[in-house]
Amino acid sequence: MRKALSMLLAAAMCTSLLAGCGGSSDTGAADNTADSAADGASTSAAGGVFKLGGTGPLTGAAAIYGNAAKNGAQIAVDEINAEGGAIQFELKYEDDEHDAEKAVNAYNALKDWGMQISLGSVTSKPCEATAAETFADRIFALTPSASSVAVTADKDNMYQMCFADPNQGTASAQYIADQKLGSKIAVIYKNDDVYSSGIYEKFKAEADAKGLEIVSATTFTDASANDFSVQLGEAKSAGADLLFLPMYYQPASLILKQAHDMGYAPKFFGVDGMDGILTLEGFDTSLAEGVMLLTPFNADAEDEKTKSFVEKYKSQFGDVPNQFAADAYDCVYAYKAALEQAGCTADMSAEELCDKLIEAFSSLTFDGLTGETMTWTDGAVSKEPKGMMIQNGAYVGM
């Protein structure tokens, strides 16, 4: 009796579940088609609000970047919406945990939400995955910070706000050579990460051209990201006076500590991934004293724009914004400028916007927090990196 009853209940549940699924997916599809049909006709109802979406690591090891970008973009969106101009934005960020597969899921969620223009993904690996999607779906994307070349390669509708990896590697080598920061250089890079190895390759090429001597180049992977005694030992015994660290801040913090423990104190030179090391909870910032890095944004800059942005960021999120926040902030304003220039309205479909924006960005000149008179060619931005040094727990321009 009991068995029969439970069977019956289970059957009832199954059918209701099935019915539920069918129903919801039906209405979902109907909504979508209705949306796209309505997009063409009744546009003023939308009120000129562009749906702007992006994915980033809001949780996970790289969460500092994702949250910074999200917060930076949010400030720009709030400012633009408060001004009450013709162009308004609705911003939505989805979490990708710095994972390519999750990024595609997050991207699909944004597409279901009705995203018209995209902020790509915050970090390189996930952005390579979502860039392939935005390219196929003809949605224009401008990533604040995914810097690998593969992100923009062969995609006419994928743009970057940060400088691309080769640019970082090349610029770092140029900077070191021009400022005579070191003559014997050691590099530790993460060879299972396209970001890190991409920068290294370009750095090496430029260092060779500039006559810098790379005395030691060692690697690590996810599986061996704990112990750097060998890599540091090699650099030390090779007599390197400058250690180049093209990587994210988390392994870099371990390297700084282990170098300190073994009494090895070369100059440390990082790239934009080093940004965030000062906000790492529990990290002894005195270890990062004197670390140099190339970053396009300096929160201590004196100009009005930067000051007001830093002020707002501090009061809303209780932190000093890093360059990811500034890049994302610039992305939103660059979009505003491009949309104005191209005369876009919010009722246009993502595909129409894509074509207009490609045209607009090819001739756009943009002044932002992270650089002046930025222009884009083949998706890559041209702007000058600035050298920063960590002094007394803050970035100081060099």
């Binding site: 690591p57 690590f220 599986a223 061996s224 790492l280 529990g282 002894d284």
Partner: protein, 292 residues
């Protein structure tokens, strides 16, 4: 001199593997199951210790005791909820469950402690410098090696000379027969898990003292390496876990130093394969022939 300093790095990395491997081998030796959640219990232990020192202001030693308590309870709860119902199920089902528990713990930690990495402050500071500063041995390494030896000796004595230890060995040999002899198999396995998880807490604190970034995934990679170490030394053998762990660390560092940093992991696993081809039960593993 560089050889010696690499040897020391190898031992310090290996001792961390060894202390994790002890927990793996303990549980495998008695319950005959691979507890893949072990690495994540380590992570929980490290977080507990981190919170106790950073947020509650407790001394490092008290925080370790607290971490051991929490992890022991956690181990017993995991065993009761996830593994006990599967006592009669095939080994594969238990293995999959263990992987599930591992993910559960990682994601729970993500929710509680968020994802941004935290920097763990070492329980033992300072270092000893030899030969005018050319060789540095950190206090953490010494503490890890010493605790490893103490735990190894303690566990060997415990399983060899106490009533519970005898019961454990009996359960490990034949669950059914042990039950017929009046041994409470469930309690014995629970105690095994309690001890294994307590060890995990110690391992977590020492792991993060040596390599001070703490994230929800902190335990998984060292956990896998330590599992390899346990297999290398002969899984189920307590001295084998320690030997395997230290050898693994030394091989890893030496292959990085003298062959290639790119290939170090490949070399470590190649050595493992060779060892297992020559000696399928691991270095110190006992070969038990199945009687049919």
């Amino acid at each position: 001199m560089t050889f010696l300093s690499y040897l020391i790095s190898g031992i310090s990395l290996g001792s961390v593997y060894a202390i994790i491997a002890l927990g793996y081998t303990m549980v495998y030796g008695i319950a005959k199951m691979l507890n893949f959640a072990h690495g994540d219990v380590i992570m929980v232990g490290a977080y507990i210790s981190f919170c106790a020192t950073s947020y509650l202001g407790l001394s490092p030693l008290v925080s370790v005791v607290l971490a051991i308590l929490v992890c022991t309870v956690l181990g017993i709860v995991i065993e009761r909820l996830a593994y006990k119902p599967l006592r009669q199920a095939p080994a594969l089902a238990v293995l999959i469950t263990a992987i599930g528990v591992s993910y559960f713990l990682q994601n729970a930690a993500l929710l509680i402690w968020k994802s941004d990495p935290k920097t763990f402050s070492a329980v033992a500071g300072g270092s000893i410098k030899l030969f005018g500063g050319e060789l540095t041995i950190s206090a953490v390494t010494i503490v890890t090696v010493v605790s490893c030896i103490v735990i190894m000796v303690g566990l060997t004595l415990f399983t060899g000379h106490t009533k519970m230890g005898t019961a454990m060995r009996a359960v490990s040999e034949d669950k059914g027969a042990a039950q017929l002899m009046g041994i409470n198999v469930n309690t014995t396995i629970s105690v095994t898990f309690a001890i294994g998880s307590g060890l995990a807490a110690i391992a977590g604190v020492l792991l993060c003292s040596a390599y001070p970034t703490l994230m929800p995934t902190t335990g998984s990679m060292p956990g896998i390496k330590a599992f390899t170490a346990a297999v290398f030394g002969g899984i189920g053998s307590i001295p084998g876990a320690m030997l395997g762990g230290i050898l693994l660390g030394v091989i890893e560092i030496f292959s990085k130093a003298y062959i290639s940093t790119q290939l170090s992991d490949a070399i470590v696993f190649a050595v493992l394969i060779v060892v297992l081809l020559v000696k399928p039960d691991g270095l110190l593993g006992k070969h038990v022939s199945e009687k049919v």
